[in-house]
């Protein structure tokens, strides 16, 4: 498929996707973006550059997401254990795709005890960190120099393709919520793949604090943990320009 053909498809996907934070009509979009359908064909040559090196740009929306209720979390970490034992055959919270341990004692902001903080040492609130299955642009996927983060049906989760992953950890530095894990045993990154639609963490929670539901966009609702420091590979940056530049 040529990129001239692919691009309108990309736009169609963006425009038809549901659950974005600021949905706007097709007309609005075109107006805001300052391009027109005709304009796209003008940009064609940019998209067409080097078909074999076509950058992977994820446009498909995920279908599901795991949502957490921190007020119900009892801090048992059974979700982290289920994630890694039932998927990977080992108990390894450091590579769990649901992250509780790091907030367990003091909350997401670090070592602030008692009334100033959260967690077991603070007001008791335990924040479970979960992958947002980001809409386009997907920061982890964009940062991957090897296009190893791909969309996988049936959930359309953003998944690390272990065969492609080279273990460079750029995706770890790209996620504002620090939701990419690294398996030190395999030297590969890993992230929440929604367990093919039956998340183990949700099944394992003894307090009904995790729920699997239709995807919704949480990217502007959950404050980031860090400022991402990953660099987008130049080919992808150029492709971003194709659509996003004024």
């Amino acid at each position: 498929m040529s990129h001239q053909n692919k691009k309108p498809e990309i736009l169609e996907e963006v425009l038809s996707s549901e659950g974005l934070n600021h949905p706007f009509s097709r007309r609005q979009f075109l107006k805001l973006s300052g391009v027109s359908i005709i304009g796209i064909s003008v940009l064609g040559p940019l998209f067409a550059r080097g078909e074999t090196k076509a950058p992977l740009i994820i446009m498909k929306q995920a279908k599901g997401i795991v949502i957490a209720d921190p007020t119900k979390c009892v801090g048992c970490r059974r979700c982290e254990l289920a994630c890694t034992e039932f998927n990977d055959g080992k108990a390894k919270p450091s590579m769990s795709r649901v992250k509780v341990a790091r907030n367990l004692n003091f909350g997401p902001k670090g070592v602030f005890p008692e009334k100033h903080g959260q967690g077991n040492w603070g007001n008791g609130l335990i924040v479970q960190d979960l992958c947002k299955q980001c809409p386009h642009p997907v920061p982890c996927a964009n940062a991957c120099p090897n296009d190893a983060i791909v969309v996988k049906p049936p959930t359309n989760a953003r998944v690390v393709d272990a065969k492609k992953c080279i273990g460079c950890k750029m995706c770890l530095r790209a996620c504002p919520w620090e939701m990419i894990s690294f398996d030190s045993d395999t030297g590969k990154a890993t992230k929440c793949f929604l367990c093919y639609g039956k998340p183990k963490c949700v099944e394992a929670c003894p307090a009904e604090a995790l729920n699997y539901m239709a995807w919704r966009d949480l990217t502007d609702k959950v404050p980031p943990r860090v400022v991402p420091t990953a660099v987008i590979p130049p080919e992808k940056a150029a492709a971003c320009n194709d659509c996003h530049k004024k």
Binding site: E85, M95, R102, A207
Partner: protein, 701 residues
Amino acid sequence: MAKYGGWVGKILRVNLSTGRIWTEDTIEKYKDFLGGTGIGYKVIWDEVPAGTKSFDPVNKIIFGVGPLAGTGAPCNGRTAITTLWPTCWPKALVATGHMGGQFAAELKYAGYDSIVIEGKADHPVWLSVVDKKVEIKDARRLWGQGIRRATIEISQEIGPGAAVAAIGQAGENLVPMSVVMNSYSHSAGGVGAVMGSKNLKAIGVRGTGSVRIAGKKEEWEKLIKLHLSLLGANNQHVVPSSPQPWAEYYDAASRWKGSRGKMWGASTPAIETGTCNPHDLNRIAYRTNNAVHYLGDIAWKYTVRGNGCTGCPIRCHTMIKVPSAAAKYGIPEVGQNTCGGLNFGRSFFKTFPDGPRGMTGIEACMVGMYMSDDYGIWCNYSQLQRDFQKLYYEGIIKSKLEEKEFKSYSWDKYEKGDPSFLFELLPRIALKEGELGTALGLGTGYLLERWSLSEEEWKKSHGLNYWKLGHPKHHSNEEAGQCGVIINTQYNRDPQCHSHANFTRNGLPLEILKRLAAEIWGTPDAVDTVGAYTPMNTGKAKMAKWSLLRKELHDSLSLCNWMGPWVASPLKERGYRGDDSIESMLYSLATGDKKNRQELDQVAERIFLLHRALTIRDMGTKEMRTQHDTIPQWVYEDPSHRPVYTKGTTHLDKEDVKLAMDMYYEEMGWDKATGAPTPEAYRKVGLGKVSDELDKKGLLP
């Protein structure tokens, strides 16, 4: 790939005198002892000579965890800490303290199956364990600080996810009644001062590694779900405390408190615990509320949520938020603990202005937890508080203190039940200030000796629950008749065994208990209604042996004996059966070392016999029956003079208890006259060398 899963392969060894840090291979040296208490007893047997005192640098502390710690096996958060026990009177003998929290799992993720500490640092230090990087660090800035401040500073250094096991001022000051504590509220009693004697303020652990499951992950997942389905509430109570739509039975004494309309009232917004149908594995955490269990229904509205150890869905610690305590006493408004820790402050008082289940009692709990869990004071299963009440109300404190010191306490506040009295008392225990503070911190045996009081009087008293060697009973005749008594004779502190009580008190009606007992111990006669006992029989001896072995097995595998065993369940369709082989299935699948129930129980027996051998070696006598396995007089008396074996009384007949001990020794294959294991008993479990060593010392029957 390592041959075995479960274990992570290395024992971390640290000599604080020389600063040497090294590792040993777990499998090579300790596989036959599993981990936890098993490794603890083995190290003490091999390396700590008889006659060593608790605070001698040659004494060792073993932070033992087992192959299931850090896995998804439910209730695996326990660290067993073994050392020569400083409150064991009149002589330190081997014993173990157990803490939950996150320490056990974190240690495994860091790559260690246990830590053995020996020697004594020449200045205060803490041990930093961050995966492979292990360092002895200067703790002079932390010395004199409470557990919380020490934990915060160590967490700032090695990361907020660290598990920090620290001692408070009590441990530093060599107060025997002191704890080591991790994860805010999880403590092991008795160990604090042994760490203090080594100048070891804390162990901070951060681990990013893994515990491998040897078996197929699908099978492991199935087994975990089976185990979860068998869980009840705390203490494996398998019926709810109030009628529920799904429940055939209920028992008001059950710790299964969740119900429609019962809310975690201090959560924002409040959360309903609901009917907690046992088939709904996503509601297990709402079953238990130990604040309500101990403080009454008033505690619901102060409940933030349940809390507890790694991997445990039961949540036996309850986090409570009490703004009035914060306003009155200037302490944080949130507190959490369970059992003796929750009740630490409250138990000192005989009365409160608003009664035993009022607001003042809750505030006393808050003040007590705030102080004792920071100073690191131990309650010795609330013996400290029971002793205190007796000593005060019988005028003994007044007679033993100089007038000036006596008057320095606000006794009027104490008598009125004013929690602010705790601000006067608890720091003085931790800081060894004055005669009263010093004496209370010694533990019952040494306190009695210091004040020239008679232990015999303590052994006669009904309210005190004192048993022997400076320690109280723990689930004795009041829970399981003769079986409970046997269990309480076997250890060098309170036995900390729940296997028997968690069965007799699980809430099922007697006919079901008897049906299950027949399947497990071969006869329905093994169990009676609590408080309506029948004379001794072999079923009860079998149950006692099974209970003790399960305790050691749990403490060595890192399963919680407070939650298990799981031989009964809340499942009607299973006839309320649990599964007596759940431990061996978990062990086999996690480690890859396939053992059936009987084979694993034999390992547990090996561990239990090593404890027995250590006790005999260090006491220097084989006369265990008369010198060690003693029973206090109160067991044989009923304060209301009801006849034995009538309904409502838990006292027992002396001759029948003698028979009980006979039958127990016989069941164990030990010598009945001395209560010492025979050479054959040692050999049967692979402890031939231990038997030979005891033989050389004339310590075989």
